[in-house]
């Protein structure tokens, strides 16, 4: 009812993107995972167990909310897919519950995860608490500081949070450290990867577990408006909420628009706009677009949103861009923060800064999007209040 795996060829190749560029020590583990997932995706017991959790625990289906006062700034009817109302406050739980169940089926008593904004870490810690699995979350040092509330949430849920000081202290460094842990503990441990990137089978598993966003929204918006949306917008870091929102619309005549983090502006060099300035290469297990220098060294990224502060993007997005099925637009910190405040003041919804990039994309593109616009509101903004308070000077006299 909520688990809608796509039909695939099982190779993990998205055109020329994807693959399994991992150390040999991990090949056995990702092969084991691919086999386990292949079995689970067709297994009624797995679907029933996951669907029950998604309904009774996560609270699915999430609502679709029309936002007419916000829509005045867009010039179209705008509907928000309310993943912020999913338990734990973001779409991340859809994936975490599915993979945690998978870990149990594989007999892995321990789960590790990386997290940027902390939403995936919180979702993973939540799923592990629910299912009685040991949980360790790696988080870049900079991110533990700007998302301190989520560190506390993970810890109260019983997870160990490891702050990663290496590199830029952000998501990519957390992923590196999680891979290092996995190489050493692969027998007992499932790596619960949070985004639709990494080596096969992760891009497929995460996409399948997030497809519920688009499947629900597609039906809800047709019921509400009698038509398919003219455009679907979602923010893109690694791209899990976006691929989940886009995928069920691939065969429709609907524009699919990913909004990536342009930080201080693409022209400043301080950004995380992978498609705007990236080149094809190999990082974190797959071939995709990455922000890298001439030597193939990963470039340090910047975004006010920790969840989009990543130099790469999932391989299926790279494929959708190359074939022209999806478009990707850069949105700056300032544009995202303005959209965050706009939605809060016009609709009484405080969005995550990540999701605010998608809202800002809609405001920026405006009426050219068509009559009916769907925006995936991937998460809520409570975790970002510290950043917002500083940005808008909300605290004090």
């Amino acid at each position: 009812m909520f688990f809608h795996p796509a039909v695939g060829d099982g190779t993990g190749a998205f055109g020329r993107f994807g693959g399994q560029y991992v150390p040999e020590a991990l090949v056995a583990a990702i092969d084991e995972l691919a086999v386990a997932y292949d079995k689970a995706r067709g297994d009624e017991d797995f679907a029933t167990e996951l669907n029950t959790l998604l309904a009774d625990y996560a609270g699915r289906p999430t609502p679709l909310t029309e936002v007419p006062r916000f829509a005045e700034s867009v010039g179209a009817r705008v509907f928000l897919k309310r993943e912020d109302l999913n338990h734990t406050g973001s779409h991340k739980l859809n994936n975490a519950l599915g993979q945690a169940l998978l870990a149990k089926r594989m007999g892995k008593p321990r789960v590790i995860a990386e997290t940027g904004a902390g939403q995936h870490g919180v979702a993973t810690a939540t799923a592990c608490a629910l299912l009685g699995i040991d949980c360790t979350v790696y988080m870049g040092k900079l991110d533990t500081e700007r998302q301190a509330l989520n560190v506390a949430r993970m810890r109260i849920l019983g997870a160990e949070v490891v702050s990663v000081p290496t590199g830029s202290g952000t998501l990519k460094d957390a992923i590196n450290e999680a891979f290092r842990d996995w190489v050493a503990n692969v027998d007992s441990t499932h790596y619960l990867f949070g985004t639709a990137a990494g080596p096969h089978p992760f891009p497929t598993i995460v996409r399948d577990l997030q497809r519920v966003i688009g499947v629900e929204a597609r039906e809800q918006i047709q019921r509400r408006t009698g038509q398919l949306p003219d455009a679907v917008l979602a923010c893109v870091g690694g791209g899990s909420n976006a691929i989940g929102a886009f995928h069920p619309f691939l065969d429709d005549d609907t524009r699919l628009i990913g909004c990536e983090a342009a930080g201080d502006g693409v022209e400043t060099g301080r950004h995380a706009a992978t498609f705007a300035e990236g080149r094809v290469g190999v990082l974190h297990g797959s071939r995709s677009y990455f922000l890298q220098d001439d030597d193939g060294q990963t470039i340090e990224t910047h975004s006010i949103s920790a969840g989009l502060d990543y130099a790469g993007v999932g391989p299926e997005h790279s494929y959708l861009k190359d074939i022209g099925r999806a478009e990707y637009v850069p949105v700056t910190d300032a544009e995202a923060m303005d959209a965050m405040r706009l939605l809060a003041r016009t609709e009484g919804i405080i969005p995550a800064i990540e999701s605010s990039h998608a809202l800002a994309g809609a405001v920026k593109l405006g009426a050219c999007l068509g009559d009916v616009v769907l925006i995936n509101l991937s998460g809520r903004g409570d975790k970002d209040m510290d950043t917002a308070a500083k940005y808008f000077e909300l605290v004090g006299e």
Binding site: E24, T166, D295
Partner: protein, 263 residues
Amino acid sequence: MSSFSGFSRTEKTLVGYLPAGFPTVDGAVRTLTAMAESGCGALEIGLPYTDPVMDGPAIQTAATKALENGTRTEDVLRTVERVAAATGVPIFVMTYWNPIEQYGIDRFAQRLSDAGGAGCVLPDLPVQHSLPWREVADKHDLAGVFVAAPSSTDKRVAEIARASTGFVYAASTMGVTGMRSEVSGQDLVARIRAATELPVFVGLGVSNGRQAAEVASFADGVIVGSAIVRRMLDAPDVDTGIAEIRTLCAELADGTRRLVGSP
């Protein structure tokens, strides 16, 4: 052009690792030269990379320093050239895959061959993605060394052995680079030997002469990285670091060439 014609399986080889550009480009050239002079029969020169997922803290720190010093891929190739000219031992570049791809696979192989390099060790290029490398490596007469892990199935061990040239790298343990109190790998070496005539070298975890001797009792070569890097990281200056590394390499070489049980 490389003069490398393969390792002996009768003589044991000590392979020492250091990232290019660490502690500086010149410092690395001097250190690598000293390593060859004090017993390393082959050298692995690391290409410093921003996201070294197979490396533990020592090599991560060294690679970061090298990058902060501005070390580029060109510097790595020039380091190979200088060390090859100075030492004459076979030199392998140990590198993650993306820097080769961005430099241009064919261009990299051409330059490495011109520099006198023997080949590459490719820790994050699994055999199923290795064809582009193997094609150009053949053309430029370079070796390609792939890593087998304790978790590799026999079928994969056979594929890795078939894809490798020069030697097969057996990871002694499941984990990243770094010093360990116990070193194993005997089972994996036996499985690799069943699949190939190539020499089998064991890496990961070896830090002293005793461990080198243990490993050399069942493998054709011993690869040491983190312990060497750690000496330099802990040294107050480059010259002291080089002196420490000379002593360590002599001890490791002695261990590598001594059979366990003999005095």
